[in-house]
Assembly symmetry: C2
Homo-oligomer: 365 residues x 2
């Protein structure tokens, strides 16, 4: 069995706690001979800033480039509210995305039947929900230049951010969305604000062209991002795959995740382009939830989103779909048996800690 | 009684139908001697484009500048999907906002008790909900330059939009939010993405400073716009007044409106600065819902959002709060009596047309 190199970046807040459960799982898989993962660890976010004044060190960036996949916890917290913009915790994550070319962010929003009642939406609206949000991750207003604050004198400052998209960036993310749709329910909804933004006009034009040229078998629909957001709240089951830009994707994927009632369960994958020679792609896997500093260090965090993110790594980076399926089944079984971390507790359920949840899932495996 | 000049801009889709009910109400108010409104009418959006190739004519812009308030229906529809960007229906609305300096967009998201079950959210989450979203309306990515699509050759184009905010723009919208909060539950939540956008950094800094200088009695909270969106879906009642930029406000106010189950009921006001001499401010009132081309011309549209928008005009432009209260009470009574347009129909309710709903409300008055 070929050895696979993983870089683990636990980050801040609950990151280290949930990462501990991934390490437990990796240890178990290696021990059983089901996989051969070699792991390294690095610092990112506030913990990297505390250690060496940058939100990720050059040495850790090098490790990230050399890894077959990166498993990422979460970054940020009030402790670093005052640090300069350039070295704020999030900068480490944004640099990883940009420098590794991880342009395709896949965020499934799935409603676990056992958790449907945890949603603020009515059960019938979200039960069985299964949406895939494909968010462009290395372009748009996140990285466009200029991105500045200028002092204009007289107590006035001017802040500028720039949303930029080139044709090729839209083409490649559209292809990711259409390819995924073919393996799902064959429908893509593209969202932008073409009625207000030139990037929305180009987005709409390019997605339409890619569809017409290469994916006529897939149903394509366009929605304005604001009414798309409304539809997400009102008729979420109308969607299969949603493809959208970096900023709209940030908002819409969080809202979609919240609808499901399963925020503590949801993974994400950030993928680069497939290398023509090696057929490999760079990839980073992280839970959708953040660093949750308010509950950090208390054993309250739900490790499932982190574990399902690792499951996505098995699927997308290591072609171990069968193992990923088993992991999903083990998680479902543990939930069905009534074990719950605090975020998903329900009447009659058995409260467990982060560690107990991780152990139970491995036991089930 | 001083005569008040209104410009009515019905626009496209269901705009003319719902505007007809405002005209009925104005006629009734004038007839009873309760008000003295003088109305003019103009074209905006696709209907203006069809008439004279622009989304609003110079003559109608002049009327808008001369009016004491503008009552606006809705613009847009698939009929004009192919028209050039510069003259698309929305351009007329955006020009009105910008040229009249209507920087403060007030969007109440209120859950009408009679309609709580129409929400996709659980009744207990939305019942009694009463949020005021204060959206900056003349800045940000909507109007920043450059806003271009450039041909790069080789089949590549580059689209650019620019998000720009100056200190004074943030200061004045923050004041609107704090002033409103003082008359409500005394809490303001400011939303931006300071972890990614320089405009978010400045936004946060300026709102914080205005608060510290002038509004220490009001509670101020900051949320990142993505987690703010999550909270809106999960814990909407944590909010009183939300203040945010043009694009986040577009998304978040639509989502908030959808939560209430009362989209067909919700008004908005867009206000300019108070003139130091006349103490007047320019103002445009429009329903939150759009032009709904799919149901246009069928008598299916709910006129209540348009009528409550007119009610906001009574309140904010004409100091006729008592009359606005009566209008609200009449609407509540008609709903309680079980009359419903199609969008808010419920078991056991009496289906009525746009006109019948308008007539019933006047009868109740
Ligand atoms: C942490 C932050 C920079 C990040 C983003 O805005 O992309 C997060 O919200 C996310 O969605 O991954
Ligand atoms: C019609 C459109 C230009 C407009 C906007 O994006 O502001 C609308 O969505 C709104 O919210 O008033």
């Amino acid at each position: 069995m070929a050895t696979q190199k993983l870089l683990l970046l636990p980050g801040d807040g609950i990151g280290p706690e949930v990462m501990a459960e991934v390490k437990r799982l990796i240890g178990w898989l290696n021990g059983k001979g089901l996989a051969s993962f070699e792991t390294e660890e690095g610092l990112v976010g506030g913990s990297a800033y505390d250690a060496h004044g940058a939100s990720i060190s050059e040495a850790d960036m090098d490790k990230a480039k050399a890894a077959d996949a990166i498993i990422f916890g979460a970054v940020g917290g009030p402790k670093w509210d005052g640090v300069p913009y350039e070295v704020r915790p999030e900068a480490g994550l944004l640099r990883l995305r940009k420098d590794l070319g991880l342009f395709a962010n896949l965020r499934p929003a799935v409603c676990y039947p056992a958790l449907a009642d945890a949603s603020s939406l009515k059960r019938e609206i979200v039960e069985g929900l299964d949406i895939m949000i494909v968010r462009e991750l290395t372009g748009g207003v996140y990285f466009g230049e200029p991105k500045t604050i200028t002092d204009l004198g007289n107590g006035q400052k001017r802040a500028v951010d720039t949303q930029v998209y080139d044709t090729y960036e839209i083409e490649r993310i559209a292809r990711v969305a259409f390819d995924l749709a073919r393996k799902r329910r064959n429908k893509v909804t593209s969202m932008e604000k073409r009625n207000v933004m030139k990037s929305g006009v180009l987005w709409n034009e390019v997605v339409t062209a890619v569809h017409a040229r290469e994916y006529k078998d897939v149903t394509l629909e366009h929605q304005l991002a604001d009414s798309g957001g409304m539809n997400l709240v009102k008729y979420p089951k109308m969607f299969d795959v949603i493809v959208t830009d970096n900023l709209f994707g940030d908002m819409l994927s969080d809202i979609a995740a919240m609808l499901t009632g399963s925020l503590g369960m949801l993974p994400s994958a950030s993928l680069g382009e497939v290398d023509a020679k090696t057929h490999k792609r760079r990839a980073l896997y992280e839970p959708v939830h953040g660093s949750a500093p308010d509950i950090a260090g208390k054993g309250l965090a739900n490790p499932i989103a982190m574990l399902t993110s690792f499951g996505m790594a098995l699927r997308y980076s290591f072609d171990m779909g069968a193992l990923a399926d088993k992991l999903d089944a083990a998680i479902a079984a543990v939930l069905a048996s009534g074990l719950r971390t605090a975020d998903i507790k329900a009447e009659g359920s058995t409260p467990v800690s982060t560690t107990q949840m991780g152990e139970a899932i491995i036991k089930e495996l």
